[in-house]
């Protein structure tokens, strides 16, 4: 393995930020996560690990699972007993979000956050900047490949998800995705559906339908960004350029289709491409445990 060593604090910062996002997401989405208890059993279409179930869980189990996820999420962010709480949070986060996605609709806005949390849970993300490091009075840790591989893996998973989305488009429509009105029809379709479902929609998306060539250009651009995503693994500058482009792509999706990818648009999905340890308070950075 010839990985450039990374500081322990970079991985720790990813634990705090990505764990924090996931925890905040679960707390913020509690009404939706609890709302599944109102759905009828006939709607139950289990996905992922929930496929182990033949019927929906009793409501009290849903509530207990959610409470446990929140508690473990706090421990994950704080790096408390991380060898136990890290994997436990990853398992429960995967479970509760899979359960919510098991009612006839899979939301693709949540996959990447879960995958990143799983990687962090499998790593030594609490060797610095954590309650574990504070308790164990951990000695200073030099940059090491053991802190680099999880970050590299998160980056590889990020680009892979975009490549898969590109492949899905080529499989479904071929290059007609670019040369036809596929994207225009999609934007028109999606916004009509939103209006007719009594929900918010994009006025901009509707107005731009008068400019069909624009959609072919955007379709080509999206395919280039998706299939060209692996280039982001070649170097920091390329990675940063790709991140900016793909973030703009998600902004475009929000503006034209009113679809919000929170993990991507708030930037958390791309933190693994940056030296995030710089966000850690400077006066604590030099300390071996990374805390005051």
């Amino acid at each position: 393995m010839t990985l450039e060593p990374a500081p322990a604090l970079r991985l720790a910062m990813l634990r705090v930020l990505i764990g924090g996002f996931s925890l905040g997401y679960v707390v913020g989405r509690l009404p939706a996560l609890l709302g599944v208890m109102r759905f009828r059993e006939s709607q139950f279409r289990p996905v992922g690990p929930v496929a182990l179930l033949e019927a929906p869980l009793p409501p009290w189990v849903v509530v207990v699972t959610l409470v446990a996820t929140v508690v473990l999420g706090v421990a994950f962010c704080a790096g408390w007993r991380f060898r136990i709480t890290g994997p436990a949070f990853a398992v429960l986060l995967t479970w509760v979000l899979s359960y919510r996605n098991s009612w006839g609709m899979v939301f693709h806005t949540e996959n990447l956050a879960v995958l990143h949390v799983v990687v962090l849970a499998c790593s030594r993300a609490s060797d610095a900047g954590s309650l574990d490091a504070l308790r164990e009075r951990a000695p200073a840790v030099s940059p090491h490949w053991r802190y680099a591989w999880p970050i590299r893996l998160m980056a590889a998973i990020t680009v892979l998800t975009y490549v898969l989305a590109g492949i899905a488009k080529l499989r479904a429509a071929g290059f007609a995705w670019i040369t036809s009105d596929a994207l225009l029809n999609f934007v028109a379709y999606d916004n009509v559906r939103k209006i007719e479902l009594g929900a918010g929609y994009s006025i901009l998306g509707g107005l731009l339908l008068a400019v069909p060539w624009l959609f072919r250009g955007l379709a080509a651009l999206s395919l280039v960004l998706e299939l060209g995503a692996p280039l982001a693994l070649l170097g920091r500058r390329i990675a940063h350029g790709w991140v900016l482009a793909v973030w703009t792509f998600h902004l475009g999706v929000l503006l034209m289709m009113f679809i919000f990818f929170p993990y991507q648009l708030l930037g958390f999905a791309y933190l693994c491409f940056f030296e995030v340890e710089r966000l850690w308070p400077a006066r604590w950075r030099a300390r071996p445990d990374g805390v005051a």
């Binding site: 899979v106 007719e196 929900a199």
Partner: protein
């Protein structure tokens, strides 16, 4: 942990994770948290079939009910809820459930009847002013029963 064991762990986790993430593309299956990310990929017909619940007022107006009336804040979940109800022949039950949900809500005071229905729209013409459904199938209809004011 010994260095060799740590390397083996790193390699094992990396191979397992990348294989798992790529696997749905090989099989062409969508799921969670592993997916082939098919969103936006399926070519859309210029005609959209919309499964929704529409409220009618005594004045003759009508409007679609928002996702919240169907017990969710997610548009797509609302869409799927109506679609599954129509396909599983339980549209009447859904209609009554939604009517019970909204009957005390002042935001729906003007509505006295609901329809669970499938409307087909020309999605491009829609944006140029032609918002009439090309085709409508009503799967169920029900009144919004309100208690008389005391």
């Amino acid at each position: 942990m010994a260095e060799w064991a740590e390397r083996a762990w790193a390699m094992g986790v990396s191979v397992a994770m990348l294989s798992a993430v790529a696997w749905p593309a090989v099989r062409g299956t969508d799921g969670f948290p592993l997916s082939n990310y098919p969103m936006f990929s399926q070519p859309k017909d210029p005609v959209a079939r919309v499964f929704h619940v529409v409220g009618h007022s005594q004045r003759g107006d009508h409007r679609p009910l928002p996702p919240e009336a169907l017990g969710t804040d997610e548009i797509m979940q609302a869409f799927q809820t109506v679609k599954l109800a129509i396909r599983s022949q339980s549209a009447a039950e859904l209609c009554e459930r939604v009517a019970r949900t909204i009957h005390r809500d002042p935001a729906y005071d003007d509505l006295d009847r609901l329809e669970v229905r499938t409307d087909s729209f020309d999605t491009v013409a829609y944006w140029f002013g032609d918002r009439r459904p090309r085709h409508t199938e009503v799967a169920a209809a029900c009144p919004v029963v309100r208690e008389p004011a005391s």
